[in-house]
């Protein structure tokens, strides 16, 4: 009775999961094998062969390293900013704490265009930085800071909002660390660097890893920022999918790229939930 009624109670969520999660995933997977109305229901592995043969792998590699770099920069800056606030408790923070939140309330597309206007060849940041570097003799020709083949513009655009995400995800756990432990360490002669290395970092490492996974996932799968700030080549895999669907009607490649994307996103999501669970367990204890 109990088991049957519990199944009944869970029925809505099972129906939701089946229709909103499982079936789209299944459609994408079957589509990558040619089994979709857009590909003519003809089984083929052509999509995978083409994916691993050419530009799609290059796009995947670029997407991976570029979003990883953006994640590292965002996580380090967000985490150290959170550490700074926890350790120094600056008085101005109470008045200015809303500022980092602007980034997460700004739609990605608008943020991307904002950065474009700052980074394009006549943008303020581009003009300032390039004139500085040229005057110092460090460069001979101006740097391309947007739509560039290294994805500098993409990294800056992504870091702008994922910084806040990391900061918010790590600031809370850092505040939860018992201040008596820090006090005891100081009384025993530990300096700030030692306290960070031996206390803050170990006690917040799960929050750090979880936020890294989440930020990576966000960076890896986003389309607006690489679409606006990216170059003609290399492109993010998400931009290739967009073009395959809306410009070229190349559905099999869109489905195949989607499957690869999902696999990597699932792995990253798994890491996030695994470490989040550990972090929660730790804090509950």
């Amino acid at each position: 009775m109990n088991t049957r009624s519990s199944y009944l109670y869970l029925l809505p969520i099972w129906i939701y999961l089946a229709t909103m999660v499982v079936s789209p995933l299944l459609i994408v997977f079957l589509g990558s094998l040619g089994l979709s109305p857009y590909t003519g229901y003809k089984f083929t592995l052509e999509g995978y062969a083409q994916f691993f043969a050419g530009k799609y792998v290059e796009a995947l590699v670029f997407t991976f390293w570029n979003s990883s770099l953006a994640t590292i920069v965002a996580v380090l800056s967000g985490y150290f900013f959170a550490l700074y606030l926890v350790i120094n408790k600056p008085s101005w923070w109470n008045k200015l704490s809303f500022i980092p939140l602007i980034a997460i309330y700004t739609p990605y597309l608008i943020a991307a265009f904002m950065w474009w206007t700052l980074l394009w060849p006549r943008g303020y940041i581009s003009l300032t930085l390039n004139s500085l570097l040229l005057n110092l003799g460090l460069i001979q020709t101006p740097l391309y800071l947007v739509n560039d083949p290294y994805g500098i513009g993409i990294i800056l655009g992504k870091v702008w909002y994922t910084f806040t995400l990391t900061f918010l995800l790590t600031y809370g756990p850092l505040q939860l660390i018992n201040p008596e432990i820090i006090e005891a360490a100081r009384m025993l002669g530990a300096n700030t660097r030692v306290i960070i290395r031996r206390i803050y970092l170990p006690l917040s490492r799960y929050a750090l890893l979880a936020s890294s996974s989440l930020v990576f996932l966000d960076n890896f799968t986003g389309v607006s920022v690489p679409l606006v700030l990216g170059a003609a080549w290399p492109q993010y895999l998400s931009v290739l999918i967009l073009n395959d669907v809306t410009l070229f009607f190349n559905y099999i490649m869109a489905y195949t790229s989607g499957v690869i994307y999902i696999i990597i996103a699932v792995l990253s999501g798994y890491m996030f939930f695994r470490y989040t669970k550990k972090a929660i367990s730790y804090h509950v204890r």
């Binding site: 474009w116 739509n147 990216g230």
Partner: protein
């Protein structure tokens, strides 16, 4: 004696013939139908036929108009931005004022609109949410292949559609055959935008007047030319199509069947310049603005012009007009011209959705979109050429004076151009191939 008899019978014969003629004419006079009145009928005969793709050809236009008024509403789905929404909302207001039919504009993106129609089709939904849908070539192809376009030759039914050039209506959607299931309403045009203050006034301006002179020009002015990523902006891929036509002739592509083998065979063979298409573009790239760094869209490209970074680039007339009107582009900088042998032009337009709930109103609305004054309004507001010839005369002279219009249209007269051509269309499938290969052969190198 015999002679008298002969004469008498001749008279008798003549008399009988006269009698028969008189009787015949009298009968004809009474039985013949009366001449039609030249005055318009005061009432329209209602029809009991349902309006569908089979019966629509049997309807009088006045009956369609009456039916449209009974339907009382039309829903027009458009793509573009808020400016297009404002322009077409005004068109809608005028339509309502003229016919008393409610008109609603829905701004969306073409992809989701067509997907919604396909979903309706798959779900068997016979009354949808859109009546008239504004499209361009790729979505039209997608819609047609999925059977969501109302299967009616609109040219046969809509009176004003006959004012549109037949070639443009049948192939203006990037040479994708429309079979009249679509009617153009705007004629977009890409031309070359150049710095008039730096390069001089037309016709003495120091610009490549023919596309085969472009390479020499960029060598003379290194870093002063750019075009936008063809996968991010229409001015980029339209310009590259013009280059393709210039290198390999328009005839090699126009209305030709497509295969990847043929596309490859053409574009990897030497063109007029002696180089294959990709080598030519890579050579061009060496002398372009920030070689290898392509503006990601039409706006990104024109902003480089506005900032004084580049002096020459292909651009849409409507974008230039809008930038001047918004005060971002100095009009004294702007020079616009069409290089030889020409720049291709897409004629975007409308279809009636297969499940349009107000089909008669949809037909009436499309007819209204092609009225001379409406076309003049759209042309003036959007920066497009009208698709009916008489409309150009109605475009206000202050709009025509704007430097955003090209100075060297064929024959120097829009009506003559409209009448005699040439109309230069893009070939969607070769364009598609070129856009994908451009990434491998140009962007990645």
């Amino acid at each position: 004696m015999m002679g008298e008899k002969k004469t008498a019978s001749r008279y008798l014969l003549i008399a009988v013939a006269i009698i028969f003629l008189l009787v015949g004419y009298t009968l004809a006079l009474f039985l013949a139908p009366t001449a039609p009145s030249t005055a318009p009928p005061t009432t329209v005969q209602p029809t009991t036929l349902p309006l569908n793709e089979k019966t629509v050809y049997a309807f009088e236009w006045s009956q369609i108009e009456q039916l449209a008024k009974q339907e009382g509403k039309v829903v027009f789905s458009i793509f573009g931005g808020t400016h297009e929404q404002e322009v077409f909302s005004e068109v809608c207001r005028r339509f309502t004022a003229k016919y008393g039919i409610q008109c609603e504009v829905i701004l969306g993106d073409w992809y989701s609109t067509v997907q919604a129609l396909i979903a309706d089709k798959q779900a068997g939904k016979t009354a949808g949410q859109y009546d008239v849908v504004f499209l361009w070539s790729l979505p039209f192809k997608m819609a047609r292949e999925n059977g969501v376009v109302w299967d009616v030759n609109l040219r046969e039914v809509i009176p004003n559609a006959k004012k549109v050039p037949l070639l443009a209506q049948m192939f203006g959607l990037d040479m994708y055959p429309t079979d009249g299931r679509y009617v153009p309403i705007v004629w977009w045009q890409v031309v070359m935008l150049y710095r008039r203050d730096k390069l001089g006034e037309w016709p003495n301006a120091d610009v490549p007047k023919r596309l085969d002179q472009l390479l020499d020009w960029v060598k003379k002015y290194p870093g002063r030319f750019t075009y936008c990523d063809p996968n991010k902006g229409g001015s980029g891929h339209t310009f590259l199509m013009a280059l393709m036509y210039s290198e390999y002739t328009y005839e090699a592509f126009s209305f030709a069947g497509y295969s990847e083998e043929r596309a490859r065979a053409i574009l990897y063979s030497p063109g007029k310049s002696g180089k294959n298409f990709w080598d030519y573009l890579n050579e061009l790239e060496k002398y372009m603005y920030q070689p290898g760094n392509y503006p990601q869209g039409n706006i990104a490209a024109i902003q480089l012009f506005e900032a004084g970074e580049v002096w020459l680039l292909p651009m849409w007339i409507d974008t230039v007009l809008s930038e001047i009107n918004e005060g971002r582009l100095k009009p004294e900088w702007v020079g616009m011209y069409i290089p030889e042998p020409g720049m291709p032009e897409p004629w975007d337009g409308v279809i009636v959705a297969f499940n349009a709930p107000h089909k008669a109103a949809a037909l009436l609305f499309i007819n209204f979109l092609l009225e001379d004054d409406v076309q003049a309004f759209i042309a003036a507001q959007e920066g497009t050429f009208p698709v009916v010839p008489a409309a150009w005369d109605l475009v206000p002279s202050e709009v025509k004076k704007n430097p955003a219009w090209p100075v060297n249209i064929p024959y120097g007269d829009f009506k003559a151009w409209f009448r005699y051509g040439p109309f230069y269309f893009r070939h969607a499938e070769y364009m598609n191939y070129m856009m994908q290969k451009w990434i491998d052969e140009v962007a990645k190198k």
